[in-house]
């Protein structure tokens, strides 16, 4: 009957009570639903997770992601544009497929309240949102992954210190931490000099830092279990250097565990960017991002709902696709099995 409870983290089959008890305090979330999906990754057994052929849903998800990446790159590079995202047209302001002021001609998706083409803005917004999300994930994953591996591999005091660090970061709820970081980074950037850091980079750093302990914990758990495996012990007993063991033996095995959640991570970061934009600390206008578009025209929701709804739909479909692909990738890598 004890085995009925699915083990939360890979090593817990042999874990001590403290480790199990400690789990809850060692995890924290940014506040998005998909973030909990991350928790579910760790807790849910998903017995039916399969190595079957890809479902239609997964193919659609791949298609959607390919589509928006293409749009984003085209819009950013200007190879193919849908018009200037910053040009306003009086005739089109606030009009869209379903606004009170009638439909805008020649603009398939209508315009925002400044009369700018929604299609062009969403396209460039896709770039901004993906750029911030992927950037943040790179920050969070590289630093968090590295610290996690070090923590799990060396154990002892290093482990205690780093785990403690993760715990402190995790004890502030993600949104609050990100908000506080953005506020203080912006405050510092303003005072520092004119050549201040761009808002995108501030967002990347803030969201990235929030991600560090999340990834760190997963990497630590994975590294810990691999460190105890025979071939690693053998390598170490033969006098191999730590760096070599980490790079040659640990990293290649820990990487799949980290990578398998990177898609979910991007989804979380996209939502985080939107959340911060709504709270008023997003990218600087006129640069569009999905969150920015929503934040700017939240006030026109009741009269011109298309602006908010179109950007929301982009976020929804993208997060849905990423969650779906994240599930597929996890099943493919079969991280849990590989670790045990």
């Amino acid at each position: 009957m004890d085995d009925l409870r699915p083990d939360a983290i890979p090593e817990s089959s042999g874990s001590t009570s403290q480790q199990i008890v400690g789990e809850s305090i060692e995890r924290g979330f940014l506040g998005s639903s998909s973030e909990i999906a991350l928790a579910a990754v760790e807790t849910g057994p998903e017995g039916e997770a399969s190595r079957k052929k890809l479902s239609i849903g997964a193919w659609l998800a791949i298609g959607w992601m390919g589509f928006i990446i293409l749009i984003a790159v085209l819009a950013k590079t200007g190879i193919f544009t849908w018009g200037d995202p910053n040009e306003s047209f009086v005739s089109c302001a606030r009009r869209g497929p379903f606004s009170q002021e009638g439909t805008a001609a020649n603009f398939i998706l209508g315009c925002d309240s400044n009369g700018r083409d929604m299609l062009a803005r969403l396209a460039l917004g896709t770039w901004t949102s993906l750029y911030v999300a992927v950037g943040a994930i790179l920050v969070g994953f590289s630093i968090g992954g590295l610290l996690g591996i070090i923590s799990g591999y060396f154990g002892g005091k290093t482990d205690t210190f780093l785990t403690g660090l993760f715990n402190i970061l995790l004890s502030v709820p993600g949104v609050v931490l990100a908000l506080a970081l953005v506020a203080f980074l912006q405050g510092s950037a303003e005072t520092a000099s004119k050549s201040s850091i761009s808002p995108e980079v501030i967002l990347i750093i803030a969201i990235g830092i929030v991600g560090i302990p999340l990834v760190g914990r997963i990497a630590r758990a994975s590294a810990l279990s691999w460190t105890q495996r025979e071939f690693v012990l053998a390598a170490r007993s033969q006098g191999a250097k730590h760096r070599r063991v980490i790079i040659k033996e640990i990293l290649p095995n820990v990487l799949p565990a980290i990578l398998s959640i990177s898609l979910l991570g991007i989804a979380i970061a996209i939502v985080a960017e939107g959340t911060l934009a709504i709270l008023g600390v997003g990218v600087r206008p006129p640069t569009p991002s999905w969150g920015n578009i929503i934040a700017a025209d939240r006030g026109n929701l009741f009269t011109s709902p298309h602006i908010v709804f179109e950007a929301s739909l982009m976020i929804f479909l993208t997060v849905l696709s990423l969650n779906m692909l994240g599930d597929v990738v996890r099943a493919r890598f079969d991280v849990r099995e590989g670790l045990l």
Binding site: I36, T43, P45, L170, S171, T191, A192, G274, T275, F316
Partner: protein
């Protein structure tokens, strides 16, 4: 007793974490570049700035400043909002119960829907209703709080006019924190329902999916087949035999979710104009009330830690495996 020892150990850990977190919030203001007083009160007169400098203990060694800061916190002194001169603790007393109520409602609504749906899906695993529940849950997971909030306030608030899209009336918890308030339960729920549903929707999906997969595993166990063989009714098996083991998983996730709930509550409060901590935090950021912000971050973090500690505590009591593991060592 071993259990007390375990709890004592956790309590020590708790204190250490609390110390570190307070140090972290302490550093937030101290790490501002230049003279923090110029950033905190740019319009302040020299006398005001001098006052703030002495409040912050600037000029003293860092450890001394921290000890003073800690001493102030322990006396309930979180500093002042400089624009109005109000103590931050007073602002916390006004806004914290609002957020707590919102989160409790969201949690209750989520469990109310997630439990039956999750159980049903697990019981009828593979059926059409299972697929429908599962797919809906998956879709809900991809809907950020702010999107749900905006969609609901558009349809339910503006189009159909079923519920107000903003505002607040004090509920049952507000008078406890702030004696000058009187409760208006009808108005309270009228205002809180839409935000609570918004916040609950994402949680429903999480609990439901978790419960479903957990129970599917449980239902495959031998003791369930045995119970079936004994002729116990399905309903009874589901509620009494299968749900119990999953309740622990659920408990853990409910605890973990508090972080997500706090984050979600901030956005929901801002969108629905509810005067809770979330609104206070964002306003503090915009008006550069760093001392005020520092106080809020500390309060939120401490609460979050305490809730998790409480969940751990429950977990320790409830999970037989932990107790058995302990007696084995």
């Amino acid at each position: 007793m071993e259990l007390t020892k375990l709890i004592a150990r956790r309590a020590v850990q708790l204190v250490i974490v609390l110390l570190f977190v307070s140090f972290f919030t302490f550093l937030l203001v101290r790490l501002l570049p230049g003279d923090p007083t110029d950033i905190i009160i740019p319009f302040g007169t020299e006398a005001k700035k001098a006052q703030l400098r002495s409040d912050l203990g600037l000029g003293q060694p860092l450890y001394r400043q921290y000890i003073d800061y800690l001493g102030n916190i322990l006396q309930g002194n979180l500093g002042r909002q400089y624009s109005s001169g109000r103590p931050v603790s007073e602002l916390v007393a006004q806004s914290l119960p609002v957020s707590i109520q919102l989160m409790i409602y969201a949690q209750l609504i989520a469990l109310l829907f997630a439990l039956p749906l999750g159980i049903w899906a697990a019981y009828r695993v593979g059926s059409r209703s299972d697929a429908a529940i599962n797919t809906t849950g998956f879709a809900l997971l991809a809907l950020p709080n702010f999107v749900v909030a905006l969609v609901l306030s558009y349809f339910i608030g503006a189009r159909w006019k079923w519920l107000p899209t903003g505002g607040y009336a004090p509920g049952w918890l507000d008078p406890i924190f702030d004696g000058t308030r009187s409760t208006d339960i009808g108005g309270h729920f009228n205002y809180m329902l839409l935000p609570a549903i918004t916040l609950a929707l994402g949680q429903i999906a999480i609990y439901m999916r978790l419960l479903r997969s957990d129970m599917i595993a449980t239902l495959k166990e031998n003791f369930i087949s045995m119970a079936r063989a004994k002729g116990i009714s399905n309903l009874r098996i589901l509620w009494r035999h299968a749900l119990r083991p999953s309740s622990l998983t659920l408990l853990t996730v409910v605890g973990l979710n508090v972080g997500a709930l706090i984050g979600g509550a901030i956005v929901v409060e801002v969108i629905f104009g509810i005067p809770g901590m979330g609104q206070k935090i964002t306003l503090a950021i915009f008006s550069r009330e760093y001392i005020e912000l520092q106080g809020y971050v500390l309060v939120v973090a401490v609460l979050f830690i305490l809730v998790n500690f409480f969940v751990d505590f429950l977990y320790t009591i409830l999970d037989p495996r932990i107790r058995r593991g302990r007696s084995a060592t």
